[in-house]
Symmetry: none
Subunit: 200 residues, 4 copies
DNA sequence: AATGAATGAGAATTCATTCAT
DNA sequence: AATGAATGAATTCTCATTCAT
């Protein structure tokens, strides 16, 4: 009659932390089990396979972002500037948080490489990310511009997140987010002009 | 049979292709050997270990970029706009080329995670990348602005490169590069203003 | 299939037998596993490495000797002649026993060569051996003589044990032990004289 | 038209040194080649296999002992005490010499274990050793005693040689040899008596 | 639910050996 | 005679997974 020592959530979080730190292929089920205070055999009570556990990790991160980050975009009671700020500031804190992790941030490629199925999950995450950011920009800009701004912002965030990790310096991401937020305050005309210029 | 079947270069390139496609940890020495038409034991003639092979791969990519991409930045016979174009257009073709690969592009994080030594190599790559881009911007902008523009451009490139791979759509990267190139044509004053605005 | 097939002790003993028969470097983990009716991977449940298994084998032999051989030397309820007899007769039966083995007997050198740590373990074994034998001689002889007799006896035993194995003839060891035991019955004076003679 | 870089002798000696230091199984052909300043493939010009090389090493050591050590026993122009001294003093210097080595000394067991053929070679070595020593003793003692003394002396030498290596202290062997040499000076009667005592 | 034993496939690596040059 | 490339078998070790208790 063994007592339950952990729950699914705990295992998913411990797995996330290890995948983030060491990558999926370089993390063994034993390590995950050990991080949970379990024997490796016990993990199979919760997840039928390592791949399935990874799936759950990705989904959990995705859900977390939906609830805690992307949701800000859709809160119509808040003005667009402020919504953008809420979204990116919360994204920043998640990305830079060891625990909550950003498996889907700059590790998107590695994750996507694992299997077509994972690629799909990663795509969905970024689609949601784009959609949220674009939704905000649509309050101030027409479709084409909003799309471009959203893709650009998320790309900058992902790129600078990578630098933050590679150089172990949070400022890359922080400065990028500051810059993105400052951009939305600028007069519409300037942006329009530039975008137009690119379209020929 | 004792006739030379491959050379170091070939092995490094085959390894690069596989690492790019499958990630380092998910690629076995057998696979690399098979890709070269060798027995796995034979690889150890050329490289004392898998890690060492990886080191060589990274260095080769770095050298390739120095010679074929970053070098454009320092060709003072060419006007800055054109230098920026040469640099990013060549970067684009390398990044999107299966063969030459961009291990150090969006896979920087996984690579960097492998070991402190690899992290250092990845850092050096990006430092060189930053430096090249910044050198061009310095022809038109003062130090602070050039730095910011360089970091931003490289971040955008890296982020959109990730999207290109995740969504299997080269346009993410292509559009980003177009945008970056169009930016340098804009009057200095606009940029200055925005940067100043961010500095308080 | 998850039913315990062997225990640590069994593995250690099987390893000992093989090391004795084939030497450490010429015995593979597969062979040891096969001798235990296990798959090779299963050994790593019990021992983290081959070297560690060797360590355990050495320690087990050492413990066995402490308990079953050297202990006779310290049983003060028994007269010295008899103690010496008990010690060497039990040593003989262990040395010549395939199962209990004498890895630390005449294979001391190969074992000691393996690594400094193993050398230390072998040294400890012989120190204990010397100490036990010397303790007995001290009941009849002064320090200097007891030391010399102990070193000599153990050396003779080891040398003749080697011959017993090389010539596959137990009599080398048996006769040596008989001779050693007969020696202690001799008048002290004769021994003293000889030892004195050597001391100039 | 490659020049001869080494000769058989050199290789045999380098191999001997390595086998002595690391044991046969733990020494690779590459290491031997490297010690000779050759590529491993080149060794096969001189010896058809590693085993054959080992055979040659054993034979060379045996020949060396025949010529430089055992020969002293048969030089009838020298009195027995002096012959014994010559024999053991030369043996001592060989045994303790890193270069000339004593593969057949205390490593007899490991060597003998390798294959029946090697066991035979080791047996022959010790038979010659016994015979030489016994020949000297026969000048002073009758057959039975000479045999016993020879076996005992060689056993002591081998045992103490092992201690010298395990404890890295040449004195074990040196003192043993001193003791053996002092023994032959003693009156015949004492030895006779003891030997007789053992024979019932 | 948890464990710990066991598995078997496969990882990286080593190595004796072969042979064209 | 020497080399260096190549091999293939073997070695140590790892790991996802299974399952009886």
């Amino acid at each position: 009659m063994p007592k339950q020592k952990v729950d699914e959530q705990t295992i998913i979080i411990e797995a996330l932390k290890l995948f983030r730190k060491q990558s999926y292929f370089n993390t063994s089920m034993s390590e995950i089990a050990a991080a949970c205070g379990l024997q490796k055999g016990s993990l199979y009570h919760y997840f039928p396979s390592k791949e399935d556990l990874m799936r759950r990790v990705i989904k959990m991160v995705h859900e977390f972002f939906k609830t805690n980050v992307f949701a800000h975009a859709y809160d119509k009671s808040v003005p667009p500037q402020k919504r953008l700020e809420n979204l990116f500031i919360s994204a920043e804190s998640v990305f830079l948080d060891e625990t909550k992790g950003n498996l889907l941030g700059n590790m998107g490629v590695e994750t996507a490489l694992m299997a077509p199925e994972f690629n799909t999950l990663v795509q969905r995450f970024f689609q949601d990310f784009f959609h949220a950011v674009k939704t905000i920009y649509l309050d101030k800009y027409p479709e084409a511009i909003a799309t471009e701004l959203a893709e650009r912002s998320v790309a900058e965030v992902e790129g600078s997140l990578m630098f933050s990790r590679v150089f172990n310096d949070h400022n890359y991401l922080r400065n990028t987010i500051k810059r993105i937020l400052s951009r939305i305050d600028k007069p519409v005309s300037a942006v329009k002009e530039r975008v137009k210029a690119q379209l020929e």
